[in-house]
Amino acid sequence: MTIKALSGNEAVAQAMRQIDPVVVAAYPITPQTEIVQLFSGFVSDGLVRTEFVPVESEHSALSAVVGAAVAGVRAMTATSSNGLALMYEVLHIAAGLRLPIVMPVVTRALSAPINIHCDHSDVMGARDSGWIILFSENAQEAYDNVLQAVRIGEHADVRLPVMVALDGFVLSHGVERVSLLEDAAVEAFIGEYQPTVDVLGDEPVTVGALALQDSFFEFRRQMAEGLYHAPRVIEEVGREFEGISGRPYGLVEAYRTEDARAVLVALGSTAGSAKEAVDLAREEGLRVGLVKVRAIRPFPAAALRELLGGCEVVGVLDRSLDYSGQGGALYTEVKAALHPLEGRPRARGFVYGLGGREIGMEDLVGLMRELVPSGADVTYLGVRE
């Protein structure tokens, strides 16, 4: 194990170097660009054996990665925002063909107005494309998630692509202390890839056939089955990863929730700040806690019911809007998860940080002071009204 000062992008690039995928096809977009550049450098310097395909667009990046994956090899790309939007069509194809592609997504607002800074509208817009989606709290988690994503996606019971989200600039460019595993430890952890499809093999195979009314539904049902298995696999892989790294991983992470009357639910880097805010609020005597959601696809509904069922109010932080008029996507889904509970807690939604608007410790602590069952259903934090 080596400890280094790395940005999130550097940490992700290091994970990719250690995975040594057979094909990487990628296209630059802020704030992901550095990953492509660093990886190109590894290729030039012979630190990886990868064939790097410098495609002319993100649509082609994921299309080429799908091509490589049906050739039975590990293949990766990375993107942000408009690049992810441009891939939208192929996201569904990668999942539908059951290809365990791993893709870091450095989150950024979607245009218009154009804005290169962090929010989660890009990933949220792609959340129902059949991909498993993991969020990262810090650069360390981004690194750890990329490595675990290989195992999760490739698991025989899952066989689905995995997105690893890390917050644009906040994590991609912020430099942190990151503990890297030895190359050999990563090699042993990810193991040899066992593809289920290989167009380079000796037996001819037809991939991507036309499936009509008599078969399409069954393909989709099988895909859903893969997602149903994913929570168990995410937890199993997390435990195994803890064994080699000392860092535990599951679907969600609970922070000081045991006796909490009010619990915040958050994604990504904000979950890190929220932990500190919980500590500060507790010093004021407020019984508050935090649940960090790591996997948003599949959605950890059962785990959330367990953690949130006993509290009085849940405050859900969304760094995107879903335009249903009901707040943000995470809020809506948390409410749906709580719905089966008798005497469920009240849920309130807080939309924050769009287009990189900062959220400070005072905002979070203030929110917890306000987090009583009397406020509005949806609040826009830090916006000029």
């Binding site: 057979v22 094909v23 096809a25 054996r49 990868t50 064939e51 395909v53 410098p54 495609v55 002319e56 667009s57 649509h59 082609s60 990046a61 299309s63 080429a64 990665v65 799908v66 091509g67 490589a68 994956a69 049906v70 050739a71 039975g72 090899v73 293949a75 069509e89 192929v90 194809i93 167009v199 380079l200 093999g201 000796d202 001819p204 195979v205 037809t206 991939v207 991507g208 056939a209 036309l210 499936a211 009509l212 078969s215």
Partner: protein, 311 residues
């Protein structure tokens, strides 16, 4: 080169039983291209009639490996496969030689997938791209494409009081591809099968990207009878609408000069998509269309060094 007898003995990689219409031109193009292969083949096909008629689950007409990804990304898809193949020896897994062939219709190639195609050619992947050009989007019901000849009626250029069919000229995709400076580019036709197979062979031997543009009639688009398919292509070639040529390492070479030139206007007359031009009130337009074909042919002769007098 191969005789017909020899070709018939070579393995059939595109099998009977596909659901293309009687008289469809592309099955012949696909079979002839695949007949020219020597190694195991990986085919990628863009969304379109070839894809939907050949892989209706759980059936497949492909006796080689086949991938369909989407409409506009067949070149990017084959890039990824080729990249995997070229990297594998570095991982100690040499699977041996493979041919990589992408097929796309004119919609996939001239229009929506042109960026993906251009990018793959510029990057220099070792693959053959075959455009089967039937002159419109057949799969979605005969809409115009960048390859549709001027004057043709399609469902998005329906002849009417204000429109004489497609107003624009077709783009010259083969020349656009040649401008990429890739090692091998050719235009071929299913009527001239020997020339087509030779070109496919040459393309497959190329160490880098290669491109074939093949004219393949569609009876729905063209409005013609199935049994006329091959003769219509022959007529297209002899009218100089679809000349046979190749561009080898940047040098243009004419492969066929009709001994007896057939009339382009007569070729139009044979197809229902141009019927509205033969009401006696479109003679000026017909003359223009003929002049356009003639000008393009002259330009090609010049590119191929076939014009002696520079006057």
């Amino acid at each position: 080169m191969y005789s017909l007898k020899e070709l018939s003995k070579r393995p059939e990689l595109f099998e009977a039983g596909h659901r293309a219409c009687a008289g469809c031109g592309f099955p012949q193009a696909v079979r002839l291209v695949l007949k020219a292969t020597e190694h195991p083949v990986v085919v990628a096909v863009a969304t379109g009639c070839l894809e939907v008629t050949s892989t209706v689950f759980p059936y497949t007409s492909w006796n080689c490996s086949f991938v369909h990804n989407a409409f506009e990304n067949v070149a990017a898809t084959i890039s990824g496969i080729e990249a995997a193949h070229s990297a594998l020896p570095r991982y100690g897994k040499d699977v041996g030689p493979r041919h990589f062939i992408a097929f796309g219709g004119d919609g996939a190639s001239y229009d929506i997938g042109l960026q993906s195609l251009s990018g793959a050619l510029e990057r220099g992947h070792r693959f053959l791209y075959v455009c089967y050009d039937n002159g419109a989007y057949a799969n979605t019901g005969v809409q115009r494409s960048g390859a549709t000849p001027r004057g043709a009626g399609t469902t998005t250029t329906p002849p009417g009081r204000f429109l004489d069919g497609k107003p624009q000229r077709r783009k010259d995709l083969t020349a656009i591809i040649a401008a990429h400076g890739i090692p091998y580019v050719a235009q071929a036709a299913i009527s001239n099968w020997r020339d087509l197979v030779r070109k496919a062979r040459r393309a497959l031997d190329t160490d880098g990207p290669s491109f074939l543009n093949i004219l393949t009639p569609c009876r729905l688009i063209w409005g013609t009878a199935p049994e006329e398919t091959v003769d219509l292509v022959r007529h297209a070639v002899n009218s100089c609408f679809w000349p046979l040529f190749e561009v080898v390492d940047g040098r243009w070479k004419l492969n066929y000069k009709p001994k007896r030139r057939q009339s382009y206007v007569d070729w139009l007359r044979r197809q229902r998509r141009f019927a509205h031009l033969f009401d006696g009130r479109h003679d000026d337009l017909l003359a223009e269309l003929e002049a356009e074909v003639e000008a393009a042919w002259r330009q090609l002769l010049e590119r191929c060094g076939e014009v002696d007098d520079k006057s």
